[in-house]
């Protein structure tokens, strides 16, 4: 039952005059009772005893369903919220099987190291609490050599991460004979973390894992768990390339929860500037802490975490002169493990009442229940938001989660559309294991692990003939002289260890190292991938790192180094880049038809060559963003092949007609404004950051010969984003239109289409430029209406003609 005093406190805070007016929405999610299921009949008595000693005499319905699915040999993905007992979903069938069969083994994969250590302590409890004879080992980069042999030989459950499997285990699989021969289960926790580049790589690592397991005669069952996303079964089967049953009904009990949408007040309605989400979050957290509500605040950067935590502590110190009654800690990556453990313990045991965290605490680390979560700015995905919000909530009590919106178009859209937020999660997580670069990298690693047989296929082909794809990649590697085709097989034939130079996480292997030369020293302060370096740390650029300003003295691309010196300046630099696109293929296309009548637009998917040239840079003054000069940039252009989705506005289409009567400058402005808002809205439907996508508009496209808007994947070869976008296009268009209609600004602001539309080198300035932006805002509105079916039109889910290759 809900504690009436907690309700009174929360109601009190929400009705305060400095808070109430900015509350945009309160969603109350009622408490729910547990749905129970009996323990399975076939449990080993030792396991039963271990469960009984922990007080289990039944299971939640989803735990039982997971057990039955997995034990019948089927793959499963369990999709349930934080604190719903998801670990038992995989521990129970795994431990039971391991007790039945002394040769059986299981592999647990977690996306990060910290998590696997937590997992081990919990598992040790399962295994040792009832004195189950199962050896559990963590095997990662921190495992001392002395334990590695024991883990390989005796580990019944081995806990690791994909990077370690990729670079440590698979290339040495012959040392793991016992493990692979007995491999019955692979558990993949936090599945939603495997998306984009990382997910695409991991899918290929799983192909290699299955290939090696098959060599030893094993075919493991996969058990995945995921936070709520739009397509869990689809992502799971894309990762493991097998059928996966999704278990989505949560049988765990939950207390009442309120989710509060808080929109910081407008400071400048004309320009659409709002108070910062960080300071408003700090204010809310303070209000909660002062009422004795245990609170966690999530901020997006390490720096913000430190700042907010110290501000909160300062404010509290003023309030309580003894200063020891409320304790608030920052929690972020970069802390020592012992420091982290101390904070986690303090939270669990109640010595610490408040914590300010980056998403480091988002993943399942146990800190016990809190009463309130304050999320400063939409964390980029719904899955993240719900994991952060899930930090608040204890069985039987009331909890509250605040989403404090930033000024970004996405945040502003979400805060105005609670129905969309609380409906079924619309986000699709996408991967593309057949990205030709990623695919070839892993064919390389796989050839190192086991020779390829003639006609053998690596993975299941999404397109074409899988064995032919594999042979093509191997032919490529043969030309490079690193595999040798002989006697009907392809053998690894080089003096190197390929996985060592392939990172699962970063975009490119050749990073630029940033070296601080201030005062004649030489200190590495960061790294940046080459394409970004060309746009961000060119000679004379201002580089901001951990709140300090540096001037780039020399970007040395050849030696992959960039020398910087610390210097206080009152401006920052912004590169002006020119993007050339060359369409290489048209692989699929479709027509978007919002209602009866003519098509709104045609979309085309394919490969594109993107050539980016940084031409010069602007100096912009802090705060005012006033342009105070230009500078030259001399870096070679960057080229990559990737995937695009083109929105083609043929003359007779709705979009084409909406643009038809405009002059060139306005056409360009409308395309740019529409592009910007679509670009910003896409992450609401596709799990990615907006900077994973590039955008480019063409008033008269040389390839399609009509106005065209390109969205392309920023990762060479693509990670499934262009394909994903094509299937959710109408939703993105509608969302963009709605955002624009709801934006209170007079004529363009950072929360909608942006502010700067005056073409370079024109005399359009000041008031004239603002007039033009205002006009463009209206024009973008009617343009999007022509695409999405009008403000009162059909909305999301407009008819979409199927693609034709």
């Amino acid at each position: 039952m809900t504690d009436p005093s907690a309700t009174r406190i929360i109601d009190g805070i929400l009705s305060r005059p400095d808070i109430a007016p900015h509350v945009a929405h309160i969603e109350t999610m009622p408490a729910a009772d547990a749905v129970w299921a009996p323990l399975p009949d076939d449990l080993d008595p030792r396991l039963l005893a271990a469960l009984a000693s922990k007080g289990y005499d039944g299971l939640y319905s989803h735990q039982r369903k997971a057990y039955d699915t997995v034990r019948s040999g089927r793959n499963a993905v369990v999709v349930t919220p934080t604190a719903s007992g998801k670990t038992l979903c995989y521990n129970l069938p795994v431990v039971q099987t391991l007790l039945e069969d002394p040769k059986a083994r299981a592999l647990y994969l977690f996306p990060t190291k910290a998590l696997s250590q937590d997992q081990q302590s919990e598992l040790n409890e399962v295994a040792l609490g009832g004195s189950l004879p199962l050896q559990v080992y963590t095997y990662d980069g921190d495992t001392p050599d002395s334990l590695r042999v024991a883990a390989r030989e005796g580990g019944r459950i081995v806990i690791s991460n994909p990077d370690m499997i990729h670079a440590g285990v698979l290339p040495n699989h012959a040392k793991w004979i016992r493990f692979f021969s007995g491999l019955r289960y692979v558990v993949i926790d936090e599945m939603h973390a495997y998306r984009g580049v990382f997910g695409s790589h991991v899918a290929d690592v799983i192909r290699r894992l299955k290939r090696v397991a098959a060599f030893y005669g094993a075919k493991p069952v996969f058990i995945l768990s995921s936070a709520t996303i739009g397509n869990p079964a689809e992502l799971a089967s894309a990762l493991v390339e097998e059928e996966v049953s999704a278990i989505t009904e949560n049988g765990a009990p939950r207390g009442e929860r309120r989710v509060v949408f808080y929109n910081p007040p407008l400071v400048d309605p004309v320009q659409g500037i709002r108070k910062s989400s960080a300071t408003e979050s700090e204010r809310l957290a303070l209000a909660l802490l002062r009422e004795g509500v245990k609170t966690i605040l999530f901020a997006r950067s390490r720096l913000k975490v430190e700042l907010i935590a110290s501000y909160i502590s300062e404010s509290l110190a003023n309030l309580y002169t003894d200063n020891s009654r409320i304790k608030v800690s920052p929690y972020r990556s970069g802390l020592l493990p012992s420091e982290r453990r101390a904070i986690e313990k303090g939270l669990r045991e109640g010595e610490i009442q408040g914590v300010v965290s980056t998403n480091a605490l988002e993943l399942g680390i146990d800190i016990g229940g809190l009463d309130a979560a304050v999320v400063a700015g939409f964390p980029g995905s719904f899955a993240s938001f719900w994991q952060q919000a899930g930090r608040a909530g204890r069985r039987g009590g009331l909890s509250v989660a605040f989403l404090v919106a930033s000024s970004s178009p996405l945040d502003q859209y979400i805060i105005a559309h609670p129905e969309y937020f609380f409906g079924r999660s619309p986000e699709q997580a996408r991967i593309d294991p057949d990205n030709p670069y990623i695919y070839t990298d892993h064919v390389k690693c796989a050839a190192f692990e086991l020779p390829f047989k003639e006609g053998e296929a690596f993975g299941k082909a999404r397109t074409g003939d899988e064995a032919e794809n594999t042979a093509e990649a191997l032919g490529f590697l043969e030309e490079e002289g690193i595999v040798r085709r002989t006697g009907g097989r392809w053998f690894w034939s080089a003096d190197s260890y390929p996985s060592a130079s392939i990172s699962l996480r970063s975009a490119t292997a050749d990073n630029i190292v940033i070296v601080d030369r201030t005062g004649g020293g030489s200190r590495v302060i960061g790294e940046m991938d080459r394409p970004s370096a060309k746009e961000l740390i060119f000679d004379d650029a201002v580089y901001i790192h951990l709140g300090r300003q540096y001037i780039v003295k020399k970007l040395d691309l050849e030696n992959k180094t960039c020398f910087v010196e610390e210097k206080e300046v009152d401006f920052w630099t912004d590169a002006v880049t020119k993007t050339d696109l060359e369409v290489l293929t048209e692989d699929a296309s479709g027509i978007l038809r919002p209602g009866p009548g003519p098509a709104a637009l045609r979309w085309v998917l394919g490969d594109v060559l993107v050539r980016t040239q940084v031409e010069k840079y602007k100096k912009l003054r802090f705060h005012t963003h006033e342009n105070v000069g230009y500078g030259e940039v001399n870096v070679p252009s960057e080229e990559m092949q990737t995937r695009y989705l083109a929105l083609v506005f043929d003359e007779a289409s709705g979009g084409g007609r909406a643009l038809g009567h405009l002059d060139e400058m306005l056409k360009a402005g409308v395309l740019a404004g529409a592009g910007r808002i679509l670009h910003e809205m896409a992450p609401a439907f596709l799990m990615c950051d907006s900077h994973d996508l590039g955008i480019s508009e063409r008033v008269r496209d040389p390839h399609f010969e009509v106005p065209t808007l390109y969205l392309f994947d920023r990762y060479p070869g693509g990670t499934g984003l262009a394909e994903g976008l094509s299937s959710i296009l109408s939703s993105v268009l509608s969302a963009g239109l709605e955002r624009l209609g709801a934006c209170p600004c007079e004529g363009g602001c950072p929360s909608c289409i942006g502010v700067d539309f005056a073409p370079e080198g024109t005399a359009v300035q000041g008031a004239e430029s603002r007039e033009m932006t205002k006009e463009i805002k209206d024009l973008v509105s009617s343009f999007l209406a022509s695409l999405a079916g009008g403000p009162d039109g059909e909305g999301p889910g407009g008819a979409q003609d199927g693609g034709q290759p």
Binding site: E479, A500, L584, A588, G606
Partner: protein
């Protein structure tokens, strides 16, 4: 769960995407495809005199002169495995030399992992007063199962292996190749790995302990024309992909010479361990290293004598080691004797402080050595460790003062 939404046919065709990227990148240093890579070639000249076992595997037998005792003490070379052999502390472990198999592999790289394989092996054993060596050569990948089983056969099942770094390199690699080819890996045999002892005996003197270096510096042999080990993988790949014979003949002789050197080195080192004190004055030997080996073997009297001699000659490490050793076993008089040789390094100063604290109970003097240890970079790095020592000494000194006051 809702069915995945129907998706547009996507991604073009991976094959065509790959070939386009490939076309884009070629010209950038791609090697021409080896012509007729798959055809058997006529046996190259460097295989003259080799027996052809099948299309891809060759074998030959050669002999070296070598003088080995009939029985030698294996204990110094067994490392931790010596503990598994039943014997009295310090006693020797007899090994019949005729059961020894000297073993060395040439491989496609040092990075390990399942993609690294061996293509040449030498197995030597004492025979008719000399050393017989069987070499097995793999001319292309498909021959690997026969190549490996030929090696296993030559090694035999109950022999004592002798290698140089074989415990962490050659043997694990051989086991991996067995697994990869579906063969039963060799059982764990008695294994004398000379690397660890050799490092202790020679590294500080010769600035390294590679087999080639010791062959020249310790055994005084001149191998004549040779190839550096680091080039060997590339030479085999060049032969494999382009048929270049290059210096493959030298690769073959390098491999055979390595096992011959291994055998000679074993004989040399075994003689040193048989009567260590007779060798103490060999200029080319690290006496302290030998002393440590002996101490570890349980031959304390000889070991300590060598360590003390080294300490007296200014080897501070030896003095520190001895002082700690005497301290552990409560030999206060021996410990006192060694103090003057501890030297001016960080560890020496700390050791003096320990001695003064625990043996002399002179806390004030001990404190002054801790303070001296704080000077210098190592002292700064290990300040925390010194701090707790200092605290304890201050406490003890205060107690001692109080006691003195009462008395």
């Amino acid at each position: 769960m809702a069915k995945a939404r129907a998706e547009p046919r996507m991604a073009g065709n991976l094959k065509s995407r790959l070939s386009r990227i490939r076309a884009n990148q070629s010209g950038g240093g791609a090697q021409p495809r080896a012509e007729d890579a798959r055809l058997p070639r006529a046996a190259p000249s460097f295989l003259a005199g080799w027996e052809r076992l099948d299309e891809f595997v060759y074998r030959r037998e050669i002999r070296f002169d070598l003088d080995l005792p009939e029985v030698l003490d294996a204990a110094p070379f067994l490392g931790r495995a010596a503990a598994l052999e039943p014997r009295d502390p310090g006693a020797s472990i007899a090994a019949e030399t005729e059961s020894l198999r000297f073993f060395d592999l040439e491989t496609t790289g040092l990075s390990g992992g399942t993609g690294t394989l061996a293509f040449l092996a030498a197995i030597g054993w004492p025979s008719e007063g000399g050393l017989a060596v069987t070499q097995v050569f793999l001319a292309d990948y498909p021959g690997e199962p026969l190549f490996i089983s030929t090696i296993l056969e030559a090694l035999g099942s109950d022999a004592t292996l002798v290698t140089y770094n074989g415990k962490s390199f050659d043997l694990p690699l051989l086991r991996t190749r067995c697994v990869m080819n579906g063969l039963a890996p060799p059982l764990e045999a008695r294994h004398l790995d000379l690397l660890h002892v050799s490092r202790r005996l020679w590294r500080s003197v010769h600035g390294g302990a590679s087999l080639g270096l010791l062959e020249e510096a310790v055994l005084g042999k001149d191998r004549g024309p040779d190839v550096p080990g680091s080039l060997i993988p590339a030479l085999w790949f060049a032969y494999l992909s382009r048929g270049e014979e290059g210096r493959m003949d030298l690769v073959m002789s390098h491999n055979a010479s390595d096992v011959a050197t291994l055998a000679a080195l074993l004989a040399f080192e075994a003689a040193i361990f048989a009567s260590p004190l007779d060798h103490a004055d060999d200029g080319g030997l690290d006496r302290a290293g030998l002393g440590r080996c002996l101490v570890a073997l349980g031959r304390a009297v000889e070991g300590e004598a060598l360590l003390e001699a080294a300490a007296r000659d200014g080897n501070e490490r030896a003095a520190i080691l001895l002082s700690r050793r005497y301290g552990r076993s409560g030999r206060i008089g021996d410990r006192a004797r060694i103090q003057e040789f501890l030297g001016a390094g960080f560890d020496g100063k700390v050791e003096r402080a320990k001695y003064l604290e625990h043996c002399e109970h002179d806390y004030r003097a001990a404190l002054s050595w801790v303070r001296r240890a704080e000077e210098g970079t190592e002292g700064a790095m290990r300040a925390r460790e010194l701090d707790s020592r200092k605290e304890r000494l201050l406490r003890k000194e205060k107690l001692a003062q109080a006691r003195r006051g009462r008395e």
